[in-house]
């Protein structure tokens, strides 16, 4: 039994108030830090992630930063982003930085959800000479879509030199169209691109875009099918999360747990697992909830702006803590930054749970105003 719970049982009723306060302070601290007893010299104490190859010359810098960003994405460990920035070092935000370095800086900023800063960095990157500006335009389009600026996203997609990155330019346009309700056009477009594609990683990616299109179109069965197929080509973390969310919306909790099986235990993954166990009435929910509470408490000590983490905070409040009021607040903060379907959904679900009908109507109107069309937003 958890020592804190044992303590709670033994509290004398007369002293319950005092007992609660003191036990909590003790257990609170205990939950954060636990001293390890080491039994043997050989016991593995920590598993380490892949090492970044330290650049020896200026030429090695870009591959190293790229490796760090890609590891950050694979492992969902933000340490690699801090490392990527440290590698860029004095070239960060510097007029001396090349187009490539500035674009990578913007990618790091985008990953931290510092979208305004990333947009600025991209604008300065685009002003620098390069044989191709495709990557900067694509990153810019992604940011505009995440923030619900579909016209700007379209402009960015159209600026990509299509001869060089045709697949990406087309997918960029199709995804933007899909978000604005042109689901049939997007479906046809993605299907055509898929037919021509041979690389499994690209097929997986196109299938995930197609699945998202079907979700927006309200065809959840087709979406689930495409997500599953996409994951069979490439077990991508982002797709696995989207698949789990789609399954959870269909109350298929066991399948959602299975979909996340091999994913790194990011906050986002743990929240979905907790949500699924709660749905199943499985006692594993509680240990996951404890772990998530400890993580969010530790993250709060950093005193960063919380906005970048607000989507996960909203999900945590809504599905783990069962606190719709807090969830709605976090969801509103998050909407100032991110305006994808899921972001509106969290806010609307929180409002529904609070029975805040006026708030829900307001949210639906605000979502519609951006031009987003999504059958789930009702």
């Amino acid at each position: 039994m958890h020592p804190c719970r044992f303590f709670l049982r033994r509290v004398n009723m007369k002293k319950i108030l005092l007992g609660i306060v003191f036990a909590s302070v003790g257990c609170w601290a205990q939950a954060q830090v636990k001293e390890l007893r080491i039994i043997s010299d050989d016991a593995v104490i920590e598993k380490l992630g892949a090492r970044i190859t330290k650049p020896k010359t200026a030429k090695d810098l870009i591959p190293a930063v790229r490796q760090a960003i890609s590891l950050a994405r694979q492992t969902a460990d933000p340490r690699y982003l801090g490392q990527a920035q440290a590698l860029i070092g004095s070239l960060w935000s510097s007029p001396q930085a090349s187009y490539e370095v500035a674009t990578l800086q913007a990618t790091i900023e985008q990953s931290r959800h510092e979208f305004a800063q990333a947009r600025k960095t991209l604008q300065s990157a685009l002003a620098r000479p390069s044989a191709s500006h495709a990557q900067a335009w694509l990153t810019l389009a992604t940011i505009e879509r995440v923030q619900g600026n579909y016209k700007q996203a379209e402009t960015a997609c159209k600026s990509i030199n299509a001869s060089e990155a045709q697949l990406y330019a087309q997918a960029c346009r199709l995804e933007t169209q899909s978000m604005q309700g042109q689901w049939n056009e997007a479906r046809d477009g993605f299907t055509a691109l898929l037919r021509a594609e041979r690389l499994p990683a690209n097929q997986a990616w196109l299938l995930s875009l197609l699945a998202e299109n079907e979700e927006r179109a309200g065809k959840s069965d087709a979406a689930l099918k495409h997500y599953a197929l996409s994951l069979s080509f490439d077990n991508d973390g982002y797709t696995a999360l989207a698949y789990a969310d789609a399954l959870l919306r269909q109350k298929q909790a066991a399948a959602a747990i299975k979909a996340l099986q091999s994913q790194p235990s990011s906050d986002a993954v743990l929240i979905r697992r907790a949500q699924a166990y709660k749905m199943l009435g499985d006692p594993q929910f509680q240990s996951l909830a404890d772990e998530l509470n400890a993580r969010f408490a530790a993250a709060a000590l950093r005193q960063d702006s919380n906005a970048g983490h607000a989507r996960e905070q909203a999900l945590h409040a809504l599905y783990v803590q069962g606190n719709a009021k807090a969830a709605l607040d976090f969801a509103q903060t998050n909407l100032k930054l991110q305006r994808e379907g899921i972001d509106w959904l969290i806010a609307i679900q929180s409002a529904e749970q609070l029975d805040a009908k006026a708030e829900k109507t307001k949210l639906l109107q605000a979502a519609a105003q951006t031009g987003l069309k999504d059958e789930r937003l009702k």
């Binding site: 302070v25 920590e46 460990d77």
Partner: protein, 379 residues
């Protein structure tokens, strides 16, 4: 496909997915500074993640199997202690105190296993006037690294997140001002008192319930004031228990809380009418029991505001105390306003029938309306 373009493809794929959800937070180290008595030497603790040490020392994972065992860690400890010593310095007045770190333990945190080092300084230090820290560990390795410094001087306690830099950070100053949500105990207390008052003042249902509790009391009589005191204390006891339990996550805030709060108003208002007719129900003990048991439910309602408020971890006790005091002050303000109303109107002939009985009926209707609204009967 040429090389540059293949590289573009690889990184493009990573970029195209819109928002990435991160594992945990970025890299943090934890420093705890304590001083038991004024002028006593300062004790220091530093906890740093093995994942960070691995990035600082290529040699830590000696066999390069990307798994650290205790033997590998032990072998690297002298080097780690030296490294920590050159990367963190304290200054007390004009004295720079270099720290002689010694390994103490390994500890599990939510973000992995950390090595904990301790060091004690020999020089007495007046921490209230000047105490500063220079921390440069991980500076060149991870731009997101922060050190979470907690300081416990005899009279004060605070914590703050510091970015590695060559500059001296004034800790005495941080203790005085507090920073953001991690302020000193007093600023936490003050901000949560404010939150408590605001919360009760902005919740029409809590106000209505308190009015119910005091509505039938004749506040010109001393014994009625005693009854008021008992009832309000009982209510406070009730809501404190559930508020604290919910804030600590021991009990949830189930969906029935809001409708039951509405119902509690109707029941208490109805009880006011019953009391007027049947004197045997006038015992303060019954009112107190009602107040205490509904207090339990209202406490769950209050907890939403606490959970929203991002509890400062080190100062949890202060936050809870502050919020409770705030709720208390709010209650007393409502009662004070009600007393004025009572003083102004109680001589009026129609007071009993219009204010007490009419008021109770109005509160029942209002409460039933809230109840049906919250349970979803009305649009």
């Amino acid at each position: 496909m040429n090389f540059a373009f293949r590289q573009l493809l690889v990184s493009l794929l990573a970029l195209l997915f819109s928002s990435i959800a991160w594992a945990h937070k970025a890299s943090d180290a934890y420093v705890l500074l304590t001083q038991s008595a004024p002028q006593a030497p300062v004790q220091a603790q530093l906890a740093i993640a093995l994942k960070d040490l691995d990035r600082a020392f290529d040699t830590l994972d000696a066999n390069n199997d990307r798994a650290l065992n205790f033997a590998e860690i032990k072998a690297a400890l002298p080097e780690i202690e030296r490294w920590a010593g050159q990367g963190m310095t304290l200054r007390c007045g004009a004295n720079t105190l270099s720290l002689n770190w010694r390994y103490e333990a390994l500890e599990q945190r939510s973000d992995g296993v950390f090595v904990r080092l301790t060091a004690s300084t020999n020089t007495p230090c007046d921490t209230r006037n000047s105490m500063s820290l220079r921390y440069t560990l991980m500076q060149e390795i991870d731009a997101d690294h922060r050190v979470i410094v907690s300081f416990k001087w005899q009279s004060s306690q605070a914590s703050s997140a510091i970015k590695p830099s060559d500059a001296w950070q004034d800790l005495a100053d941080q203790t005085k001002q507090g920073t953001g949500s991690k302020g000193s105990a007093l600023s936490t207390l003050a901000s949560f008192i404010k939150l408590g008052i605001e919360h009760i003042g902005s919740g029409a249902d809590h106000i209505a319930f308190i009015i119910c509790l005091v509505l039938s009391l004749a506040l010109t009589l001393a014994r009625e004031w005693k009854a008021l005191l008992i009832t309000i204390t009982a209510f406070t006891l009730g809501h404190s228990i559930t508020l604290i339990s919910a804030t600590l996550g021991w009990v949830g805030s189930p969906r029935w809380v809001e409708p039951v709060i509405a119902l509690s108003i109707a029941v208490s208002a109805a009880f006011n009418l019953v009391k007027q007719r049947f004197t045997k129900f006038q015992s303060p003990a019954i009112s107190a029991a009602i107040a205490a048991s509904f207090g339990l439910v209202h406490g769950l309602g209050f907890s939403g505001a606490m959970t929203e408020a991002q509890l400062p971890e080190g100062a949890l006790l202060w936050a809870l105390a502050g919020f409770n005091i705030g709720v208390e002050i709010g209650q007393l303000l409502i009662i004070a306003v009600w007393s004025i109303v009572y003083w102004a109107l109680h001589r009026w002939n129609g007071y009993q029938s219009w204010i007490v009985q009419g008021g109770s009926v109005a509160l029942i209707l209002l409460a039933l309306y809230w109840f049906s609204q919250r349970i979803g009967w009305l649009a």
